[in-house]
Subunit: 209 residues, 2 copies
């Protein structure tokens, strides 16, 4: 499959260093791989997605996927993190006025679920985590720990990790009933109606001593 011809019929030219995969695929390769990973995990589920399949969809060598991300589990974790964009979002949620942190968190969360582009991979994550221990382990270890510890680190409450998990549990449960099971009237409720009810709950978990 991998020949050494430097140019071919493909529209994108790829130079292939003999042993190392670094720098292959150009500056956009990492993003292409992540995008392909999100799509594959969302469409095929955790179990049926492979590093080889992700590489193929991204138009790169599997070695490059390993180079950037490591194992399949680590690609999975990276694909999830992209969906949440915690690096950008968490500081914004935390740094605003403390008396509206519940409202900001509720609105952010409903927002990523209302957006079809982020909803599909999130659904895939939850489905995978509930049916495959390997995926659950990734969600537990890489993602939730990082995301929740980041939020918890800034809380001034007893047992902040426990509080952050209670908040997360509510939002995950809402996602499941609204978007997966689709119970009514929750499934058809206006996002702001949900935010209005849920914000005080999150506020209490995240701020009440």
């Amino acid at each position: 499959m991998s020949d050494d011809g430097s140019t071919g019929g493909a529209p994108r030219r790829r130079g292939r260093p003999s042993r190392t995969a670094a720098d292959e695929g150009g500056p956009g390769a990492r993003e292409r791989i992540l995008e392909a990973a999100r799509e594959q995990f969302a469409e095929r589920g955790y179990d049926k997605t492979s590093v080889r399949g992700i590489a193929k969809a991204a138009g790169v060598d599997p070695a490059l996927v390993h180079h950037y991300f490591g194992t399949k589990d680590e690609v999975f974790a990276a694909a999830i993190e992209v969906s949440f964009e915690p690096t950008a979002v968490v500081p914004a949620i935390i740094s605003g006025p403390r008396d509206a942190i519940g409202e900001r968190l509720a609105r952010f969360f409903i927002g990523i679920w209302e957006n079809p582009a982020t909803r599909a991979p999130l659904l895939a994550i939850i489905r995978s985590a509930l049916t495959h221990e390997a995926a659950a382990k990734v969600l537990r270890g890489f993602v939730l720990r990082r995301l929740l510890e980041r939020i918890a680190a800034d809380l001034d409450v007893p047992d902040p990790k426990f509080r952050a998990e209670l908040a997360a549990s509510h939002m995950i449960g809402i996602a499941i009933l609204r978007y997966v099971i689709q119970v009514e009237p929750l499934a058809s409720a206006e996002p702001e109606t949900i935010v209005a009810q849920v914000a005080p709950t999150l506020q209490r978990y995240l701020t009440q001593p």
Copy 2:
């Protein structure tokens, strides 16, 4: 497989009316079928469970399963209802002092999840509903509607069904993070620690105008 010999080596004697399955299997047959259904759905998942398999595990003719419950979906719904025992439990939750309804509901819910006998089928239900639309439809239609409408019917709040669903979403999310994903410290928290935090949330959803 089904011969007409009226006695055999089996410890339980069964008389088989020629065409109708009614009365076959004795007075405990319905319960045996339900128990077998719960075990099969819990162990094999929704997709791989069949009426034939349930009948075999219960030691009855498949026709008897159809006679008592109807389709596979209806057996699934009945198996779920047995786990919740809503007939007995909902009135007890609702009829107590109104200012502690959140606490009773939280304690009931954590209780059925802490009990391994009821946890396994509930996990199976959630897993099935998240991965198979047919199972999601059963959960949505038969179970949640019945259970939540029963609770909602007695609430004195605006949009009671929405409120009951918000309460349910929180409890489902806790079950997923605690028992499936097993995030810490939530996974190891004392049941009463969770009840103490969650009860005020449920109380607000179910009673606050």
